[in-house]
């Protein structure tokens, strides 16, 4: 099958519509039929189409008028004009209005197949372009990005990333919270043959089951209250790229069965839909949980586990690779200096020692936050021991006494983190006005990561 396309066929003749649809389905495409220009515009309002095959001669709005409206409102949908009554004038008019091609019925199967390949190529370019723009917006580095390490354990992880990147099999990334599982998933994707396809991530632990189902599989218009428009799910969005399921250990048994079916049949349906869809994605899952323990407890399906755990990467916790703490800290200091435009701060000896002796229960994420706080608190370009505020109570007790202003700033920072940087909620917890909190944040240079 060439890349499966969403195709809209617009023709007033039932036999023509149905025969085109049947033929396209043999090639694995998803086909929607419209008997008039008005109906086609309704369909375009409800769904996303890669290609439209439009007959010129139709009662009411003719194919050329539909073409003009489509190019104005849905420029990403390719339009091929098909007609049994060809003329040089109409073909010139169609091409001027933006048609990708003009075919005279009946045409050779090879001609149509070539156009479908062309449409598939154009769609791939469009998606690649979107994916690249998204990656630029995310500030993704072409190398290993924020994954920094010189310990033997991390060098082994880098080697493993290179190995699994070239395979097509599903990957399971394990590691404690904050070890950088998504970064590793992105690194696998960016080194794989799918690097120019989309990287689509979803945190399965942060969604209710029904929402997760709709997010993953998409939904048709009217599938549930509020589904006013058909929406593509993450499975469809990941076509040609990588689908990353974070916190896969939190997925319900029902969703595990649904995903297992997708992995086995390579087909799925949107919520409220009846049409089989296909998507060519590579699956990467991550979890901080011990899945074999969950299987023993009957909370995770063994067959699903075997399906997602074909290749694995384990990221060791930061406490087991203390030689990475200083390089990571330097990396974050560099990053924050670049982001804030301030001079790059440096750690003094006592600060470095404190960082290396802390157990880092929150791993690299916690280290990043500690460094960010320290950069904000440090008056100059030197970070001292007293500017390091750890979340662990024992380490906090060890810290040197802080000024009242530093204590206040620390507290604000922690509350903001706990409230996911929601200023309204954080202000309510702190018992101050939203505007007061915003002012304090601005003064201290605090902002959401």
């Amino acid at each position: 099958m060439s890349a499966a396309l969403q195709v809209l066929v617009v023709d007033d003749e039932l036999a023509m519509r149905e025969s085109i649809a049947a033929w396209l389905r043999q090639d694995g495409h998803q086909v929607t039929l419209a008997e008039s220009g008005d109906r086609a515009l309704q369909m375009l309002e409800q769904g996303v189409f890669d290609l439209a095959l439009v007959d010129i001669k139709m009662p009411g709005m003719d194919g050329l008028e539909l073409l003009r409206r489509m190019k104005a409102q849905y420029p990403d949908t390719l339009v091929i004009i098909i007609t049994a009554y060809g003329s040089i004038e109409s073909s010139v008019e169609a091409m001027k209005a933006g048609a990708s091609d003009y075919l005279l019925k009946p045409f050779d199967p090879e001609q149509l197949m070539l156009l479908l390949h062309k449409a598939g190529g154009q769609r791939a370019l469009l998606r690649e372009n979107l994916a690249l723009r998204q990656r630029l917006a995310d500030g993704e580095c072409p190398g290993f990005g924020d994954i920094v390490g010189r310990s033997p354990a991390m060098l082994a992880v880098f080697g493993r990333i290179e190995e699994v990147a070239q395979a097509e099999a599903p990957v399971l990334i394990t590691g404690e919270t904050g070890t950088g599982k998504e970064l590793v998933a992105r690194a696998v994707h960016s080194r794989s043959p799918r690097a120019y396809g989309p990287f689509v991530a979803i945190n399965c632990g942060a969604q209710a089951e029904s929402l997760l189902e709709s997010e993953l599989f998409g939904h048709e218009r009217g599938a549930f209250t509020g589904a006013v428009k058909a929406r593509r799910g993450r499975l469809e969005m990941a076509d040609g790229g990588t689908l990353f399921l974070d916190e896969v250990g939190e997925i319900s048994a029902k969703m595990q069965v649904a995903l297992l079916r997708v992995l086995e049949d390579k087909r799925f349906q949107r919520v409220g839909g009846s049409q089989d869809l296909t998507s060519d994605f590579r699956l990467i899952c991550a979890t901080h949980r011990d899945l074999s323990q969950l299987i023993n407890q009957g909370r995770f399906r063994q067959d699903f586990y075997y399906r997602i755990n074909v290749l694995s990467i384990h990221i060791p916790p930061l406490r087991q690779r203390t030689e990475d703490i200083i390089p990571l800290s330097e990396h974050f200091l560099e990053k924050f200096a670049r982001e804030t435009g301030r001079p790059r701060a440096r750690l003094d000896g006592a600060a470095g020692q404190a960082l290396c002796s802390y157990p880092w229960p929150g791993n690299v994420r916690e280290l990043r936050n500690v460094i960010e706080r320290a950069v904000i608190l440090a008056p100059g370009d030197k970070i001292e021991r007293r500017q390091l505020t750890f979340l662990s109570p024992q380490a906090a007790e060890d810290a040197a006494p802080l000024t009242l202003a530093e204590m206040e700033l620390n507290h604000i920072h922690r509350v903001l983190q706990a409230q996911d940087w929601n200023i309204r909620q954080a202000a309510a917890v702190l018992g101050i006005d939203r505007s007061t909190l915003s002012r304090k944040m601005k003064k201290a240079g605090l902002r959401a990561p």
């Binding site: 099958m1 060439s2 003749e13 036999a15 023509m16 149905e18 025969s19 085109i20 049947a22 033929w23 389905r25 043999q26 090639d27 694995g28 098909i82 019925k105 009946p106 045409f107 050779d108 199967p109 090879e110 149509l112 197949m113 049949d265």
Partner: protein, 210 residues
């Protein structure tokens, strides 16, 4: 050309496909189609008595049969095995396509194959009868696989590649790629399960979807 027979000893004898000659069709061609369905897809095939020439499908202006009405007629008759493959000696077309070698209802009940163009050589003239029958077997298997739910595949040489010309048809091997083999095996098993669960009187189910 290595056939991929799934010759499991427990394969049931109930026919899953009926090969239907439409009008005057060579008995050898019918036998070749049935034998390949059996040997390569492990689908027990039976051969029916010839059906009348499908003149209802004739497009007078083109002198060809429209494959659509033939598929509907093949699918409509619920008696017999769940899948039905029609063979015709006349050229097939679709309203929008100038010709097709065959056509099928994806995940439906019926497929139809034309032998009209299969003797043509790429450079003009005729090919050997053996090559013509090999082409017939490829199209019969390809279209039957569509009925079982397989769609076109791009794996090099896979029988489910789309072949728009005789030259591209000749490049295909009489073999499915591993992915298509897996899907075929699963669909075949589902069909057998449905057959074994269905009462004798409704052996023709499941009906067409498309």
């Amino acid at each position: 050309m290595a056939p991929q027979a799934d010759n499991r000893p427990d394969a049931p004898a109930t026919p899953l496909v009926e090969v239907v000659p439409l009008g005057r069709v060579s008995q050898t061609a019918v036998a070749v189609a049935a034998a390949n369905l059996q040997a390569i897809f492990n689908l027990n095939a039976s051969v029916s008595a010839p059906w009348p020439e499908p003149t209802y499908a004739l497009v007078p202006t083109r002198g060809q049969y429209d494959a659509g009405p033939i598929l509907r007629a093949l699918a409509q008759d619920q008696a017999g095995p769940p899948l039905r493959l029609g063979l015709t000696g006349r050229d097939l077309c679709l309203p929008f396509l100038s010709y097709v070698f065959g056509e099928a209802q994806v995940e439906g009940r019926a497929a139809v194959v034309s032998m009209y163009r299969l003797q043509d050589a790429a450079q003009g003239g005729k090919v050997s009868r053996a090559l013509m029958l090999e082409r017939l077997a490829k199209i019969a298997l390809h279209e039957t696989a569509h009925v079982l739910g397989l769609v076109h595949c791009q794996a090099p040489g896979c029988l489910m590649n789309f072949a728009s010309s005789l030259a591209s048809l000749d490049r295909l091997r009489l073999i499915l790629c591993p992915d298509c083999q897996t899907i075929l095996a699963r669909r075949r098993q589902r069909l057998r399960d449905q057959i074994s669960q269905a009462p004798q009187s409704s052996r023709g189910l499941p009906g067409p979807k498309g």
